[in-house]
Amino acid sequence: MLKYVLKRVGLAALTLLIIVFLLFWLVRIMPGNPFPSERMNDIQIANKRAELGLDNPILVQFWNYITKLLHGDFGNGTSLYYGVPIKTVLNTAVSNSFRIGGISILLGTAVGLLLGITAALNRGKFLDGFCTVFSIIGVCVPSYVFMIFLQYTFSFKIPFFPYFFDDSRFLFSSVMPALSLSLFTMSTIARFTRNEMVEVFDSDYVRLAESKGLYGSKLVRAHVLRNALIPIVTVLAPLVVDLLTGALVVEKIYGINGIGKLMVDAITGEGIDYNYVLALGILYSTLYITVMLLVDLLYGVLDPRIRVAKKRGEAA
């Protein structure tokens, strides 16, 4: 098992390095200018470029960047929040996005599971239909449309929630964005849970368990849900990353200082900010790779069969 984990971690690190290099190179060939100055002359701009080492060969630049990165230094902003260490800006953005993302994941998964289980237990009845319709709507309606609807209804028509995100009332002003972001997760999880559970209900081993006299919540927990969870975890993983890394449009609409908004600002602001695009790119990829790694390891916990198969694979 340890060897397997190490191998996976090593592969993940290599993938990350390749991604960082590609990003590093791509951002430099993107159209646009890191110094979109209208008032500095050529000498000043050349000096600024030299200060940032942009005149060096790309591999030298990359080596310098990686060395700094390994010391935890993302560099400073070049055109966005010019001169400010990216770490300070990123801290706030990550904390905002992760907290709101975290709430929506918890909400989405919990309600999604409940909906899915309810639907599966009431197959063909009203509740099943209701859940299906709900999840189709949830998958189809983009989160920002729902966000605009919530904002219009619950802070404009009925002024209860703040109209814009307010740092000093974090939990309270997170309700609407978290709710709208969780909708997609909620519906996806509900749909998958329902379908998987229905399938498992029809399987031989559940019938066997039933014939042994198992029924009710024990049957659902020990046999149906556990088996149904595997595909759900697979679906949930990328959803988690999507939610954590922020939702561009929702953050823009509600004025949340999060990483989604930061990414858009870094690319479409006055100038392209190489360091921000890179830092955020690295953050996204690291999260994706880590979550995928965790999912892989989680399979083993959820399903002993996978664990055993892996052991056999290692032995062979």
């Binding site: 159209p31 646009g32 200018n33 979109p36 100055s37 209208e38 008032r39 500095m40 002359n41 000498i43 000043q44 000096n47 400073n76 902003g77 929040y81 010019y82 001169g83 400010v84 260490p85 300070t88 800006v89 706030t92 953005a93 909400l107 309600v111 409940l114 909906l115 289980i117 309810t118 237990l121 009431n122 509740l127 802070s155 404009f156 002024p159 109209y163 814009f164 995100f165 307010d166 740092d167 000093s168 009332r169 939990l171 309270f172 309700v175 978290a178 709710l179 009710g216 919540s217 823009k252 609409i253 004025g255 949340i256 200082n257 908004k261 930061l262 479409t268 006055e270 100038g271 392209i272």
Partner: protein, 551 residues
Amino acid sequence: MKKLLSLLLVVAVLASCAVTVAFADSDAYLGVMLTTNVMSLDTNLATDGESFEVIANCIDGLTQMDADGAAVPAIAESYDVSEDGTVYTFHLRDAKWANGADVTAYDFEFAWKRIAQEAGEYAYLLDSSVGCVKNADAIIYEGADPDTLGVEAVDAKTFVVTLEVPVSFFPSLMYFPTFYPINEEFYNSLEAGTYGTSPETFLSNGAFVLENYTPGTASLSLKRNETYWDADNVKLAGIKYQVIQNSGEALDAFNKGELNMVTVSGNQVAAAENDPKLAENLSVTGAGYMWYLSFSQTENNAQGGMLANKNLRLAISNVIDRYNLVDNYVMDGSLATFTAVPPQFAASSTTGEDFSADQDLFLDVCDYNPEAAAEYYALAKEELGQDEFTFTMIYGSNEGNEIALVAQAIKEDIEAELDGMTINLQPMTKSERLDKMQNDNYDIALTRWGPDYADPMTYLGMWITDNSNNYGFWSNAEYDQLIADCTTGAYVSDYDARWAAMLEAETIVMQEAVIAPLYTKANANLISSDVEGVQFHPVALNRVYKAASIG
């Protein structure tokens, strides 16, 4: 089981809606909308109007703007000018930084030398094209020792500035944030790169102190500075800023009372005009900057330099219906403009007359006049020996919602009146547009320029040979000479002669159609009826809140 599940479902949905935290509304604060993020609170790094507005709320310079935009004393209680107009001696009043330290001449000396040494975006305000501070060019462009800059703190209360040549508008430059002081001791106590990134790392000596700010935030707040030297005249308890990029959302926030001052554009302006309740809150103020068409005149572009032909440029300039642009597309009270220097920001200090008050001055060369355009076009076709032209027009798709519409309208005007000319539109980000223009890789660009100081030279200085803002690479010896005479030569001490020479220079730009002016941007503001005393200016600081009150 089913009942339990249903119950849990209901509880979960209810719980998600019922998270409540105590309300803490700040009624006494003025709620103001910003259209973009505050990028930096460091005077050396800030480049945008939003940042300058917030800095100016918190820091006082030597002078400040009065309601009409004239320079009146701030930290400098008074100043003397030497007879030849090159030495300014500022006498500082007793004022405190928010941490209790005195505001001294040394703070100004430190800040100015830092601006010159760092050579950032606005360092040029010190150089020989604008402020003409002694030795600034050598420091900014050649890396000379910043201690050689012509500024000296004679003692804590006396700040002396030596200029290369007299600069008639020098006192009005002093209210621009680039010339604000920074407390050296405080600055040096901070970790490098963190100055101005939080309330703790930013020091005020002005009307407000920073209460709540992180870089990238969509909302920030300032509160009244009780130790401000002029605190008796500050009525607001504070200002709460909210970044909103969507005009519809701005209108909703205003209607809801969330914000007291918002800027609307496009259809929302019409909506506000037609709503009897909102109409009385609507006011249009000049934003200062002018949109214009820049033509590349080099051989690299426009089918081998076709736009170097004066008549072709004049033909294009004379088919654009500028009133149609502002009335039907921009719709926020922006002014159709027919002069290379836009109106409303530069008034003569001897006659008080606006440099560009007379918009009819160049109508013979710049107007919506298809017949004249046809004549120019015929001449151009003959001179170039060509009947068909295809040009690309670039514009920034992130420079306001109306820009794409304006670009489309210009294309339609040109193609309708100038037979055989095709305009291809190419949207891109502003940064890409600037990149193309600076690298001489465009035919026609829809671009803008805002005045940094209240003198026509902020525009006219752009079109001298080799200026980095001379994107068309146009060059005219007579023009260069006129501008040199106005900035460092014959006219520097003769105010009226300088004014006349600048008009002469502008005439050359217009007759040659170096650019095609389009419109001078305005802001359509909605301001709650209980707000008074906010001062609007088209130049330097767009909004000043020192005299503002609410309720």
